[in-house]
Assembly symmetry: C2
Homo-oligomer: 301 residues x 2
């Protein structure tokens, strides 16, 4: 079961923290962007090459420390097809480095488009006589507003390919609660989506988690704690981890330190802005510090 593969990596690194890559061009170290642009006549290609360099260097720097990496799809889409070509290459390299690859695309659809979404990011595309792997990620985020058909399209590909997914259950942004915290029947809307996801897949892996995970933001620790109790076989992706949050977020994990992966974006990828030094070393140092804090509250068995 695919979350078993993730947990093994978490256990090996003693680190339940993923790094999110995908900086926008304006967030990259300026000298990196400028030198890539100087070498390319096409401005989108120049920016894509700068993102490629930054991502590949951070993957090399962090692969021994973190178990997983998150790629926010829009960061690559905003560079046009050149950004997607970089994403394909960077995903391949991450997997070579034994990192678990999470594609954060937050889409999902019904019918053929729903199946195509799952094939694109996790599976194989049928090409008449042949088949091919388009992007080859390990795990995909899915928006459940379209209900169980959209989730099931992804789940079916996950079963075929031994992959997994995270349904968006509770997100962090301003206004996320407008819908997610409404009471629908005797539950909150985010609980409805959580329950729907949990019901979809009863089979669990060796650590007790199914292929159908849930995104639950770090921003609301009490909701996280309540959802952890409610959804005992659902692996959580917890975006938005930052220094000082470890104590609050320990409830994302089960008593064995399993069932959750926290993610950090800016605190790692933009750590160089604080330190002023080399961005690879700054990212490593940030990961060491964040992991150290987590280890004080979470023991991973």
């Amino acid at each position: 079961m695919s979350f078993d593969h993730l947990h093994k990596r978490i256990k090996a690194r003693k680190c339940p923290l993923a790094v999110e890559l995908g900086l926008s061009p304006g967030e990259l170290p300026p000298q990196l962007l400028e030198s890539a642009q100087a070498a390319c006549s096409d401005p989108l290609e120049g920016a894509a090459q700068a993102v490629r360099t930054f991502d590949l260097e951070l993957l090399e720097a962090l692969a021994g420390l973190v178990p997983a990496v998150v790629f926010p799809l829009p960061a690559y889409e905003q560079l046009g097809w050149r950004g997607l070509r970089v994403l394909e290459e960077v995903i391949r390299r991450a997997r070579e480095l034994d990192l678990f690859v999470i594609v954060d695309a937050k889409a999902g659809d019904e019918g053929e488009a729903g199946r195509a979404y799952a094939r694109a990011w996790l599976g194989k595309t049928n090409l008449g006589a042949a088949q091919a792997v388009p992007f080859g990620g390990d795990c995909l985020t899915v928006n459940g507003y379209l209900g169980s058909e959209a989730l099931r399209s992804v789940l079916e590909v996950c079963r075929e390919e031994d992959k997994c997914f995270f349904a968006l259950v509770k997100t962090a942004g301003a206004g996320a609660g407008e819908l997610q915290d409404m009471v629908a029947g005797d539950r909150l809307v985010c609980q409805v989506v959580g329950d729907l996801t949990a019901r979809l897949e009863r089979e669990t892996g060796q650590y007790g988690y199914s292929r159908a995970g849930a995104v639950v933001a770090a921003a609301y620790p009490s909701d996280l704690r309540a959802l952890r109790k409610r959804l005992e076989h659902t692996f959580f992706l917890v975006p938005g981890y930052a220094p000082g949050m470890a104590q609050d977020l320990r409830f994302a994990f089960d008593p064995y330190g399993r069932g959750a992966l926290l993610t950090a974006a800016a605190p790692v990828a933009l750590a160089w802005r604080e330190t002023g030094g080399d961005y690879r070393e700054a990212a490593r140092e940030a990961v060491r510090s964040l992991t150290g804090e987590l280890r004080r509250y979470v023991t991973i068995l």
Copy 2:
């Protein structure tokens, strides 16, 4: 206002019907796929070239008949970055042919990823000293589960670029109602998202519609009629139009035949399977027939 641009095209063609492209490789006319694959050593590239040929030929065949074209993103993603390169080219050609381009990506996010999503499909990306247009669509679908921040990220780019979007309100697939038809407070969840979308943008264009539209599936005509009354300044994208539905779907439009665009996928793009003839001519004939049926029930002023 951007839906004005769409309505002008609808009025000029006397046709409120968009065609959805983006067939999966296995759905393409077999000889087209085979000849493209024979010319390419890379199987994804071969399939992408076959999709490119089919799309470009259908655009040429239909540009005088329909006002708009819908591109379901996963259909292109499943061909890897090569599929996205084709999509970029096909979007450009559609706009040259005076077609209104709707990217059906059904995503949406908060923070920088939310803004990047909007820039990718509708706007410009900042590349340090320069800016560039990644895909350049006119309109984008957005999943509103993340609340108003995700919608507002897209709306802001729409205001800058004179573009528009459709929030997913009521979709068609099996299980869509599991969440969308729940009662939350005194409203259905789909009404909550519809109201949220409508409240986001009060400014309307010359035909009375704002930049913030809604996806409302053709599959539930009575819901469509109720939502039309509820959301009087919200332009509707109505996917799933097929022969025989025009009478039921006339309530998608206001009394002047404005405020809605129906979309047809398989009835047009796969029409050649029924007729056995040339796929361009089959598509043209299908569009003529579907439009003729619509004109009996909807008069466009």
